[in-house]
C-alpha cells in the first residue's frame, strides 16, 4: 500500500521489496483531507505534506509538526509524501514522527474488523517494522487541539540544508503554567535509536522549572543519555549522542518561545 510512493519506488528499484500488488490509497477521499473541530484536528494519512504545511491554521497551531512535515524531501516530494507514509516506512529517522509523538498524535487504523486507535509512538516497532497487521492501514491522524500557553518544535541535523535524511532529530512540546514555569514537557528524539525515543529525564528536569542553563544542560545530558544509535554512513554514535543533546535543548527553547507567544507574554 502506498500514498506518495516516495519511499516505495526507491525500495522497489533497489530490489529491497517486490510486492505482487500495490494499492494506491490517495484515491480514498477520507485519506486526503485536513479537518478540525473544537477538540481535534484530523489529518488524512495520505494527505500530501505540502497540504499540511500550506494550511495556515494548522501551521500556526502546530508549527513544529508542520515544519517537521515540511522537511520530508524537496517541494517535489512534499506534493507526494504523507504523514502516513513517513510513519509506516518505519525509518528511525522519519522527520514527522518525533513531532507527532510530542504532540500525542493518534493513528486511526482500519482493518477487516473495523477501526482502532493507536498512539503514533506505538505504531513503529523497529526499523521498517510496524505493529500494523498486513491487512490494516492508517486512515487518519487525530491531533488534539494545542492547549493555551503551549508550543511545539522540531529540529533535525543534516549535513546539507535540504534533501538529506536526519542524522539526529529532536521534537519538543511544552505547556507553561500561568506563572511562566513549565507545566508539561515532552521531548522525543529521532534517528538515535531503532525507533523514536522519549526523553523522560529531560521532561522531568523541565516540569515545574523555568528554563535556565542548568535545566538546559540537564535536558541535553538526558537526551544524549537515552540515545542508542548506530555508526553508519550518515553519522557516528558519538556524534549522534552529542548532537541529540544540542538539538533537544534548542527544540525546547523554541517550543518555550512559541508557548510564551501563544500566552501573549512576549
Amino acid at each position: 500500500m502506498f500514498a506518495g510512493a516516495t519511499d516505495v519506488v526507491p525500495q522497489l528499484r533497489a530490489g529491497r521489496s517486490a510486492p505482487e500488488v500495490l494499492v494506491d490509497l490517495k484515491k480514498i477521499e477520507e485519506l486526503v483531507s485536513i479537518a478540525k473541530d473544537d477538540d481535534k484536528w484530523r489529518v488524512g494519512a495520505a494527505t500530501p505534506t505540502a497540504n499540511l504545511t500550506g494550511d495556515e491554521a494548522f501551521s500556526e497551531e502546530f508549527p513544529g509538526l508542520s515544519e517537521a512535515a515540511g522537511l520530508i524531501g524537496s517541494d517535489q516530494i512534499q506534493n507526494r509524501s504523507s504523514l502516513g507514509g513517513n510513519l509506516c516506512n518505519g525509518s528511525p529517522a522519519a522527520d514527522s514522527v518525533p513531532a507527532m509523538v510530542v504532540n500525542g498524535v493518534r493513528a486511526v487504523i482500519a482493518g477487516p474488523n473495523g477501526t482502532r486507535v493507536l498512539d503514533v509512538a506505538e505504531v513503529v516497532t523497529g526499523p521498517g517494522q510496524t505493529s500494523l497487521d498486513m491487512d490494516e492501514f492508517i486512515v487518519e491522524f487525530e491531533i488534539d487541539r494545542m492547549p493555551e500557553r503551549s508550543g511545539d518544535a522540531y529540529l533535525r541535523m543534516i549535513p546539507r540544508t535540504e534533501m538529506d535524511i536526519a542524522v539526529v532529530g529532536a521534537g519538543a512540546r511544552v505547556t507553561l503554567a500561568e506563572d511562566g514555569s513549565i507545566e508539561e514537557a515532552i521531548v522525543a528524539l529521532g534517528a538515535v535509536a531503532p525507533t523514536v525515543v522519549r526523553v523522560p529525564q529531560a521532561e522531568s528536569a523541565l516540569i515545574g522549572n523555568t528554563v535556565d542553563d542548568d535545566t538546559l544542560s540537564a535536558v541535553a545530558e538526558a537526551a544524549s543519555g537515552v540515545c542508542n544509535p548506530i555508526d553508519d554512513k550518515r553519522g557516528t554514535v558519538a556524534y549522534r549522542k552529542q548532537v541529540a543533546g544540542v538539538l533537544a535543548k534548542r527544540a525546547v527553547l523554541i517550543a518555550i518561545e512559541r508557548a510564551e507567544q501563544r500566552n501573549g507574554t512576549k
Binding site: P10, P159, R160, E162, M163, R234, G235, Y239, Q242, L247
Partner: protein, 750 residues
C-alpha cells in the same frame, strides 16, 4: 572584472548573447544520450560484480538467454583477447575495464550484458545470468594497497620509476619524483616549519546525466553509435580497440552531453551496445542507473598526502617536501603525475622534493575529474601555507604574493613560465570588498590558490558560408558548457558578420576532422583556434573572389566589417551576402577546413576567498560568502567563463564539506545515490562572486587560456582555511563533515 589588457575593440568577443543550443535546452527538445529511440530498438542491461575482488569461475547465460524477449547475452569472451594479441598495456586495461575477463577488480565491474525487447525483460534477464565467483581478498585504500603482503590486483605489476626496478610485484604502479636544490639547507634557512598529513576520499564527477549509448550494428561489420561523451572520436577509438575493429567501421554521433567534468572521457557502454546490437541484429540502448554510475564510473582518487614546508620570517618559502599516494582504482593511471607537477607550481621555491605513487586498489578505475590530481595536492599545500602565514603573522595574500610564480619563474615541474596571471588573481581578491567584509560570530575567512596547465591537443573545424552569407561552423568537440557560443563569437569576429547569422554545430565522426576530447579546458583554445584558422582561410578566399569580381589584385582588397572593400574606395563594397549569392561565378561554394595540433597552451591560475560559518555545537559548516578570481586569458564568452568558475567552485565546496565514497568492509559502496552522496544543493550556497582576470595568452589569437578546470583546485583549502579561521581547528581530512569537525572540536577541548 579585472581587465589587464584592454579589449582591443572586439565587436563580438566578450559579449553575452544567447547560446546557440539554448532554445532546444529550455524547451526539452535537445536530444541527450538516453533520449534517442530507434525503430525496433532493444533495451540492454549490464550485469555487474557484487564483489570487490574475485576470480570469475564461470558464467552461465543459458537461463537468461531462454527468457521471454531476450535477444542477446554477452560476456567477456565475446570480445577479442587483447592480451593474447600483444596489444599495448593501456588498451588491455581499457578493454578489461569495459568487461571483465578472468577477474573482477571492483564492485560494479561489468561481467555480462543482455538485450531484450523491454526494459523489464532486460532487467529480469540480467538477474538470471549466473556468475560463479571465487572471492579474493581486497584492498580499498592506498594504505591497504601499499601495506606489506597486501593482496595483489595485478600479479605482474612492477613499480615503474624506481631505480633499480623492484623484483617483487606490488600494487604500486609507478613512482614520480621532482626535486630541486637542497632540502636540508632549505629547511635550515626556515624560521618556521610546518608538517601535516592529509587524506582525501574518492569523489565523483557527479554529472546529472547517467552514461547512455545506443548502437545500431549492420551485418557488414559497420555500426553507428550515439552516445553522451566528452569526445566521440575518443569513443570511436576505444570502441574499435575493445571490439577489435577498424575505427573507420564505426560512426559515432555525439548526443547532447549532460555534464562530464572529465568522467565522460572514458568508455563504458559503447562497445557493449555494439556487440549486443550485432548479436541481436537490432539497435540496442544501454543506460546506466544512478547507482551504476557511482559504483562503476569515475571517480577521482582518494589520497594520502604529507606536506612539510618552511618559511623565513619575511614570508619566503625556503623549502617544501611533498609525499603523496593516489588511488588509481582497479587499473594504473591515477593523476598523481599531474599532482606532482601542480602541487607547488604556484610558487617559486628554491628547494623541494615532490614524491608520488600511483597505487591500484579494488575500487572503480579513476577517471579524469576537472584538473585531475591537482585539487587534493592543493588542499594539502595551501593548508600548510595558511598555517605558516598565521605562524609568522603574515596576511594570506601577502605570503602568496611574496612567493608567486611570475613570467620567467622556473616552474616546479620544469620549464620557465611564459606570461601568466597568478599575481593578478591575488590582487583581484585583495582589491575586492569581500576581502574586508565584516565577519560575524563563528565565521571565518580563508584564502587558497591553484594552478592548472590547461591543454591544447588536436582539433578540426569546417566553416561553410551559406548562399545568403550566413555561416555554419562545424567542429567535433562535444559542447559541454557553452563552447558552441564561443566558437560562434570568434567566427563572428573573424568574418565580421553578426553572431546571430552564425550557426555552430557539433558534427559526427564522419562529417568533420578529428577532434580530441572536450577536456583539459582546451576547446575554446584549440578548437577555437581551428575555427579562427578556417575563418581566416574563408576571408582570404573572399578577398580573392572580390578581387576577381572587381578585376583587381587581391592586395587591393581588404575585409572589413563583413565586407570586401577596395583599399582606395573605388569600388562599392561587396558584403559576404553579395559574394555568397554569386559564389558559383567566382569558384563555387565557399568553405574551408582547418586542423591543428594546438600550440601555445596558456597556464591557468585561480585564487579564491571563502567565508564560512561553523556551528560549534553540531559541526555544521555553511559557506556564507565566496569570491573566485581566475585568469581566463580572454573571456570570449563571459557568461560561460563565469559559469565554469562558479561550477568549479561549487564542486569544490561539495568535495570540501560532504562528498565522499563510503565502502563497507566487503568493498561494497554504501552511498551510491544522490541522497547519500551529497553534492551541494541550491540552498547550501550563497551567490558565487566572480572576478574574471584577463592576462591574455600571447600564443592564442584572442588570448584564450582555458577556464574549465582550475576553479576546482583551491576550494577545499579555501574552505578548510576559513574553518580554521572560524574555530581554530585545522582540518586535515576530507570531507570536513559535521562529524569530523565536531570530533576535532572535541579533541581540541580535551
Amino acid at each position: 572584472m579585472a581587465i589587464i589588457e584592454e579589449n582591443p575593440g572586439y565587436k563580438w568577443v566578450g559579449t553575452r548573447p544567447i547560446r546557440p543550443d539554448g532554445l532546444e535546452k529550455v524547451t526539452g527538445k535537445a536530444q541527450f544520450g538516453a533520449d534517442l529511440m530507434l525503430p525496433g530498438m532493444l533495451f540492454g542491461k549490464v550485469v555487474r560484480s557484487p564483489h570487490a575482488h574475485a576470480r570469475i569461475v564461470s558464467i552461465d547465460t543459458a537461463a537468461a538467454e531462454a527468457m521471454v524477449g531476450v535477444k542477446a547475452v554477452i560476456t567477456g569472451s565475446d570480445f577479442p583477447d587483447l592480451a593474447a594479441n600483444g596489444a599495448h598495456a593501456s588498451d588491455i586495461d581499457v578493454a578489461n575495464n569495459a568487461i571483465a575477463r578472468e577477474k573482477v577488480l571492483y564492485e560494479g565491474h561489468v561481467v555480462a550484458a543482455v538485450a531484450a525487447t523491454t526494459r523489464e525483460q532486460a532487467e529480469a534477464a540480467a538477474k538470471a545470468v549466473e556468475v560463479t565467483y571465487e572471492i579474493l581478498p581486497h584492498v580499498l585504500t592506498v594504505d591497504e594497497a601499499m601495506a606489506e603482503g597486501a593482496p595483489l590486483l595485478h600479479e605482474g605489476m612492477i613499480t615503474k620509476g624506481v631505480d633499480p626496478a623492484p623484483e617483487e610485484p606490488s600494487n604500486i604502479a609507478s613512482k614520480i619524483l621532482h626535486e630541486r636544490g637542497d632540502l636540508d639547507q632549505g629547511f635550515g634557512e626556515a624560521d618556521v616549519v610546518v608538517e601535516r598529513e592529509f587524506t582525501t576520499k574518492p569523489v565523483h564527477q557527479g554529472y546529472i546525466e547517467p552514461h547512455a549509448a545506443v548502437a545500431d550494428a549492420n551485418t557488414d561489420g559497420r555500426a553507428h553509435i550515439w552516445c553522451s561523451s566528452q569526445g566521440h572520436f575518443q569513443m570511436r577509438a576505444y570502441s574499435a580497440t575493445v571490439l577489435g575493429v577498424s575505427p573507420g567501421t564505426l560512426k559515432v554521433t555525439a548526443a547532447e552531453i549532460g555534464g562530464g567534468f572529465g568522467g565522460k572521457t572514458v568508455i563504458y557502454l559503447e562497445p557493449l551496445a555494439v556487440r549486443l546490437s550485432q548479436r541481436a541484429g537490432r539497435p540496442v540502448k544501454l543506460v546506466m542507473d544512478r547507482d551504476e554510475v557511482f559504483r562503476a564510473t569515475g571517480p577521482t582518487s582518494g589520497t594520502r598526502i604529507r606536506v612539510k614546508m618552511g618559511v623565513s620570517k619575511d614570508g619566503k618559502i625556503t623549502a617544501a617536501e611533498v609525499w603523496m599516494a593516489y588511488e588509481a582504482g582497479a587499473y594504473s593511471g591515477s593523476p598523481v603525475g599531474a599532482a606532482g607537477m601542480t602541487a607547488i607550481a604556484c610558487y617559486d621555491i628554491p628547494n623541494f622534493v615532490v614524491e608520488g605513487y600511483d597505487v591500484v586498489c579494488n575500487k572503480p578505475r579513476v577517471a579524469a575529474y576537472r584538473a585531475p590530481g591537482a585539487p587534493m595536492a592543493a588542499f594539502a599545500v595551501e593548508s600548510v601555507l595558511d598555517e605558516l602565514a598565521r605562524d609568522i603573522g603574515m596576511d594570506p595574500i601577502d605570503i602568496r604574493l611574496a612567493n608567486a610564480a611570475v613570467e620567467g619563474t622556473q616552474a616546479s615541474y620544469g620549464p620557465k613560465f611564459p606570461r601568466i596571471g597568478f599575481v593578478e588573481t591575488l590582487e583581484a581578491i585583495k582589491d575586492h570588498p569581500n576581502y574586508t567584509a565584516e565577519l560575524g560570530p563563528n565565521q571565518g575567512r580563508g584564502v587558497a590558490a591553484g594552478f592548472w596547465f590547461n591543454a591544447g591537443m588536436m582539433s578540426s573545424a569546417t566553416v561553410h558560408i551559406n548562399e545568403n552569407g550566413t555561416a555554419t561552423v562545424v567542429t567535433g568537440s562535444p559542447d559541454i558548457g557553452g563552447s558552441r557560443q564561443s566558437m560562434a563569437l570568434m567566427a563572428a569576429e573573424e568574418l565580421g558578420i553578426s553572431y546571430e547569422s552564425i550557426k555552430a554545430v557539433v558534427a559526427d565522426t564522419e562529417t568533420v576532422g578529428f577532434n580530441d576530447v572536450t577536456g583539459g579546458s582546451r576547446v575554446t583554445l584549440a578548437t577555437g583556434a581551428a575555427v579562427v584558422d578556417a575563418c581566416r582561410l574563408i576571408v582570404e578566399d573572399l578577398r580573392a573572389r572580390a578581387a576577381k569580381t572587381w578585376d583587381v589584385e587581391v592586395d587591393q582588397v581588404e575585409w572589413v566589417d563583413g565586407q570586401a572593400q577596395h583599399v582606395d574606395g573605388s569600388q562599392p563594397p561587396l558584403s559576404l551576402g553579395d559574394l555568397a549569392a554569386k559564389s558559383g561565378r567566382t569558384g563555387g561554394p565557399i568553405s574551408a577546413n582547418a586542423s591543428l595540433n594546438s600550440r601555445g597552451v596558456g597556464a591557468g591560475f585561480s585564487t579564491q576567498l571563502c567565508d564560512v560559518e561553523v556551528d560549534p555545537e553540531t559541526g555544521v559548516t555553511r559557506v556564507v560568502r565566496y569570491l573566485t578570481a581566475q585568469d581566463a586569458g580572454r573571456a570570449i564568452s563571459p557568461d560561460y567563463v563565469e559559469g565554469q568558475m562558479q561550477g568549479g567552485v561549487v564542486q569544490g565546496i561539495g568535495w570540501a564539506l560532504n562528498e565522499e565514497y563510503i565502502h563497507d568492509q566487503d568493498g561494497v559502496m554504501e552511498n551510491p545515490s544522490f541522497l547519500d552522496y551529497r553534492i551541494p544543493v541550491a540552498s547550501d550556497l550563497p551567490m558565487i562572486d566572480c572576478a574574471i582576470v584577463e592576462v591574455p595568452n600571447p600564443a592564442h589569437p584572442y588570448g584564450v587560456r582555458g577556464v574549465g578546470e582550475v576553479g576546482i583546485v583551491p576550494p577545499m583549502a579555501a574552505v578548510g582555511n576559513a574553518i580554521n579561521d572560524a574555530i581554530d581547528v585545522r582540518m586535515t581530512d576530507l570531507p570536513m563533515s559535521p562529524v569530523r569537525i565536531l570530533e576535532a572540536l572535541t579533541e581540541q577541548r580535551d
